[in-house]
Symmetry: C2
Subunit: 215 residues, 2 copies
DNA sequence: AACGAACCGTACCGTACGGTACGCCCATAT
DNA sequence: ATATGGGCGTACCGTACGGTACGGTTCGTT
């Protein structure tokens, strides 16, 4: 838990955030478009300032990803009253948040950038994205799963396995196809089916781990 | 189906394949290490030859990915006698092949390269990897699923959905974590659990879509 | 008013790399 | 033996980009 890199709102001044926004925009528009000159021009600042604030290109990239990844805050899910209905609703909420996040252009860009980065030895960005993406969800979902198990609504030997199954049921091949730029899978295309996919994933998860279904 | 890019063994001469091997090695060793000079030195050939054979850097990259991706040939799965046992065995075989492929260094490198490539406008590599990865599996698995449905072993409204669920149950978060360079998930780490994961995925899939379980 | 800090814009430097040109070797054909 | 062509090695060119330097401007402080 101490591993999570904390980025407060106050970490960056508004001016700096404007710079980071420019950097992110360039990243989204054109993955390799993040040249220092381009960011400086887009943000109407001098390159010297960029180097003063962020050290070097990698620092700017890291700051951008950190700042943006930390913004992915999923809405709070109630875990007080644990009826089957409430559990299903929570699962659907998680699935919906996960899917809508994943198919967003920003998320795709961040993941692509981090993966490109990880292809070289420097794996900072990969960890940042992981920490704010899958791991953040895991941290939030696991206690709910465990509470549901304690309430005899779910049955599983290992909450880690249960979480990963949920992830798989929700994400399936959507993320990798989007990352690879599958033209047969536009965001709007996925977006239209989110609700039915969400329901299907929750149903399947409950079929696999709900108390009724499992022996 | 005509979309699949065909790459015969004879497409490249042995000497050319040696060059492609060198290129792939450099790619695996260091994602951005694929400079024309480096490939030429590694393969003991001249840059001029590279340009003569492959046109430009992108052509070399594409040839490398095509050539390597086309090598991913999964073993044939018998689909003649369709007992429950044979079906489960087939599913496990698919899951095993999928997992072992995905966690391989070559696959990770290819996917990372294609994703990096897709981050710019050029999406050739993404399609090639997709076509030889997920889509190849889909083409092989779908008829088996449909045969099993016709034999009343499985029940699903949509074979596409069934395939994607299978994919999700098998891959879960493994691929994205490996692509992002998650240090808590080494190949050997995953490899050790392949067999149990494979069994679990097949079990879960049969629980969801097997005739016995569904109403 | 005077000073200084922060910052913009631009010019500049060094390097890395894609791509080209050229000289040489060697193998095969005639 | 000689010619020819495919290919190796190297040197070279142009450009793009990371990083630095510097003059000019704005703004806050005293």
């Amino acid at each position: 838990m101490a591993l999570a890199i904390k980025v407060n709102e106050e970490t960056f001044t508004p001016r700096q955030q404007a710079v980071l926004t420019a950097a992110l925009d360039l990243l989204v528009e054109n993955g390799d478009g993040l040249t220092m000159t381009a960011v400086a021009r887009r943000a109407s600042c001098s390159k010297e300032t960029l180097y003063k604030w962020f050290g070097d290109r990698d620092g700017l990239l890291t700051a951008t990803v950190q700042w943006q990844a930390a913004k992915v805050r999923m809405p709070f899910v109630d875990r007080s009253h644990l009826s089957v209905k409430a559990l299903r609703s929570s699962l659907e909420q998680f699935a919906r948040d996960l899917l809508t996040t994943i198919i967003g252009e920003v998320s795709i860009t961040l993941n692509r950038t981090a993966i490109t980065h990880a292809a070289q030895e420097k794996d900072d960005l990969g960890n940042i994205v992981l920490e704010n993406g899958p791991m953040a969800i895991r941290r939030r979902l696991k206690p709910i799963l465990e509470a549901a198990r304690d309430a005899r609504l779910l049955r599983f030997p290992n909450s880690e396995e249960a979480y990963r199954t949920f992830f798989g049921l929700v994400v399936r091949d959507v993320q990798i196809r989007l990352l690879l730029g599958d033209k047969g899978l536009t965001q709007s295309n996925v977006e239209a089916n989110i609700e039915s996919d969400v329901k299907a994933a929750a149903d399947q998860f409950l079929t696999l781990y709900g108390v009724k279904a499992n022996s």
